[in-house]
């Protein structure tokens, strides 16, 4: 895999030598995230987020397995069993808050990971498969997060399940049948809760499997880097261990610090008060909103308020799913050979607009649906689609990229030379 100068695994202890002959798992780890994986030397902190996402999945799986030992997936007792975890189970409040906030941390980290991919062109050849698998992971995560949110069986759980399965009823002819099939009833109840629990337990392991493929696919071309320039030789890379293990440890520390602040000091900051009310099929909360990480997509859904050939509801659902599915086509929509936005001034400007656009959509998704917010949501949604489907292909065809460095090493030396004139003289 990857580069010819990658270090080979040479077990020193007899036990490891024996194991390596019979089952080369240590070799696999060594080549994947050890000294056997050469990585560009110029990665910045944005490259921490892949490892952080893996750590977040690990935290979710461990806390989730433990919570499942106490949770009861039955509509009559689910809410009470969660309260039992919070009040009676040893350290139960910690485990539950860690799992609930861990979902937010996971999505936060993954959003930054995706944004990094967009900025530095990590989706482009030869890493298209890495990107496609990544979008698949994102979809799996969204499904897992949604079903997990239903499990406490609070008011937002129930009405979230009602609204999201309601999307499927927008499908012409068979929509209602599909919705009833998904729920196993006419409204969310025991049947839906049980299948959501089953799938919520299953999907993280599927996600872990796709993550292995994601890393496997990454290791064939090797990691991208902030210049987007290909690795030219050994001088461009450093071994993953100890260089990036050390750097990831710093990132992991900061991640844990933010995570701990959330769990211990503001565990309900990102949640919704209505979810501390037990599900009541006869009373809808005044203001149904999804968790923060779905708000931009919810804003897109809400923005389609006009019928045109198709009913507005179907447009909304198509657009909402489309806004994620279009990411699958990104490697082919953007035909620019230059990866990093650092060398693509026009693309960079539009991408920064997109960042603020998504933040705006996030705000609109959670805000009251008054005329001003609906207008903002409609403009924001339009930009989202225009950016990916129209602007991106046109910019790629029209812009003149800035000159690229010849190699990663050249870029690094230039950077250091820029900060210290004395060294420039020496380097030359």
């Amino acid at each position: 895999m990857s580069f010819p100068w990658a270090k080979q695994y040479e077990p020193k202890q007899p036990l490891m030598r024996w194991l390596d002959e019979k089952l080369p798992v240590p070799r696999l780890v060594y080549n994947a995230v050890g000294a056997g994986y050469p990585v560009p030397r110029n990665l910045n902190y944005f490259w921490n987020f892949g490892v952080l996402a893996g750590a977040a999945l690990g935290i979710q799986i461990i806390t989730g397995i433990v919570l499942a030992m106490h949770y009861a997936a039955n509509a009559g007792v689910a809410f009470g069993s969660v309260e039992g975890i919070m009040r009676d189970v040893n350290a139960g409040w910690f485990l539950r808050y860690a799992h609930a906030n861990g979902a937010s941390m996971f999505l936060l980290v993954v959003y930054i990971h995706i944004a990094r991919g967009l900025y530095y062109g990590s989706y482009k050849a030869p890493r298209e498969m890495v990107w496609l698998l990544g979008v698949t992971i994102f979809l799996l995560m969204m499904a897992t997060a949604f079903m997990g949110y239903v499990l406490p069986w609070g008011q937002m759980s129930f009405w979230g399940a009602q609204v999201i399965t309601g999307f499927f009823s927008a499908i012409p002819l068979v929509g209602e049948t599909i919705r009833i099939w998904l729920l196993g009833g006419y409204a969310p109840d025991n049947a839906a809760l049980n299948r959501f629990f089953s799938l919520h337990y299953l999907l993280p392991f599927v996600t872990a499997g796709v993550i292995i493929l994601h890393i496997w696919a990454l290791h064939i071309p090797g990691s991208n880097n902030p210049t987007g320039v290909d690795v030219k030789g050994e001088q461009d890379t450093v071994p993953f261990h100890p260089y990036y293990t050390a750097k990831d440890a710093v990132g992991l520390g900061v991640f844990m610090l933010i995570f701990a602040l959330l769990i211990f000091f503001s565990p309900n900051l990102l949640g919704h008060p209505d979810n501390y009310i037990e599900a009541n099929p006869l009373s809808t909360p005044a203001h149904i909103v999804p968790e923060w990480y779905f708000l931009p997509f919810y804003a897109i859904l809400k923005s389609f308020t006009a019928d045109f050939i198709l009913p507005a509801k179907l447009w909304g659902v198509l657009a909402m799913f489309g806004s994620i599915l279009l990411l699958f086509f990104l490697p082919w929509l953007d035909s620019s050979p230059v990866r990093s936005a650092n060398y693509r001034p026009k693309y960079r400007a539009f991408l920064i607009v997109l960042l603020f656009d998504v933040l705006l959509l996030g705000y609109v998704g959670g805000a009251e649906a008054n005329a001003r917010n609906v207008v903002l949501g409609q403009i924001g949604s339009a930009y989202y689609f225009l950016h990916f489907l129209v602007i991106l292909p046109l910019v790629a065809a029209s812009e003149r990229p800035r000159p690229l460095p010849n190699s990663i090493t050249e870029a690094v030396l230039e950077k250091h030379a820029g900060t210290s004139p004395a060294k420039t003289a020496l380097a030359n």
Binding site: D88, Q235, D236, T409, K423
Partner: protein
């Protein structure tokens, strides 16, 4: 900036890097300290993950049981429950007490007298867990008409352990007498177990 190192990527001029020399031991120290801290943190995280499997507060809170014994006639027994385990409360007849006291204590597998297994002045009240000390089945003998076994106490149908009228093991594979839980007489008619 740092010293020359053989891990220096080729192609970079090593003369650039001659600036200051650190104490190598201090450098290693910080690596070891960081890894140790991570290790301690990981262990600290394992503690709640293990502790959550211990009985929760609601389970612990139900570990006492009050039993009204006023309606148990001599020779009768009732099954109750203590910590979700069966509990036998038996009102021994004078004949059963005499039979239990007749047995030489030294000959028993788990030597105990009836007096040691009951409260002073209340020797007729035999309160034991209904859990066979072999592998945890519920012995017969507490219910009306059940097989009390060859020693007139309890008989475990799983592997044939037989207990006498003081619920002591007399025959079969069980190693110990039926366990007597901690209990107190609140009054002549109410017992608190646990």
């Amino acid at each position: 900036m740092a010293t020359v190192d053989d891990r220096l990527p080729p192609g970079e001029d090593p003369t650039l890097l001659h600036e200051e020399v650190h104490d190598p031991r201090r450098r290693d120290f910080i690596n070891i300290a960081a890894v140790s801290f991570a290790g301690v943190g990981a262990v600290a995280i394992v503690l709640p993950l293990v502790n959550q499997m211990n009985p929760s507060a609601d389970v612990l809170a139900q570990s006492t049981t009050e039993i009204d014994i006023s309606k148990i006639e001599p020779g009768q027994a009732v099954k109750s429950s203590f910590r979700k385990q069966p509990l036998f409360v038996r009102n021994l007849t004078p004949a059963e007490i005499a039979e239990a006291n007749k047995v030489p204590v030294n000959s028993l597998r788990d030597p105990q007298t009836l007096a040691e297994r009951t409260k002073p002045g209340k020797e007729n009240w035999l309160i034991t867990l209904g859990v066979c000390t072999h592998l945890g089945c519920v012995p017969l003998g507490a219910g009306e008409g059940e097989n009390k076994g060859p020693f007139g106490g309890y008989f475990c149908p799983c592997h044939g352990s037989a207990y006498d009228t003081a619920a002591r093991i007399r025959q079969g594979p069980a190693p110990r007498n039926l366990e007597v839980p901690p209990y107190n007489f609140n009054s002549d008619t109410v017992v608190t177990v646990g």
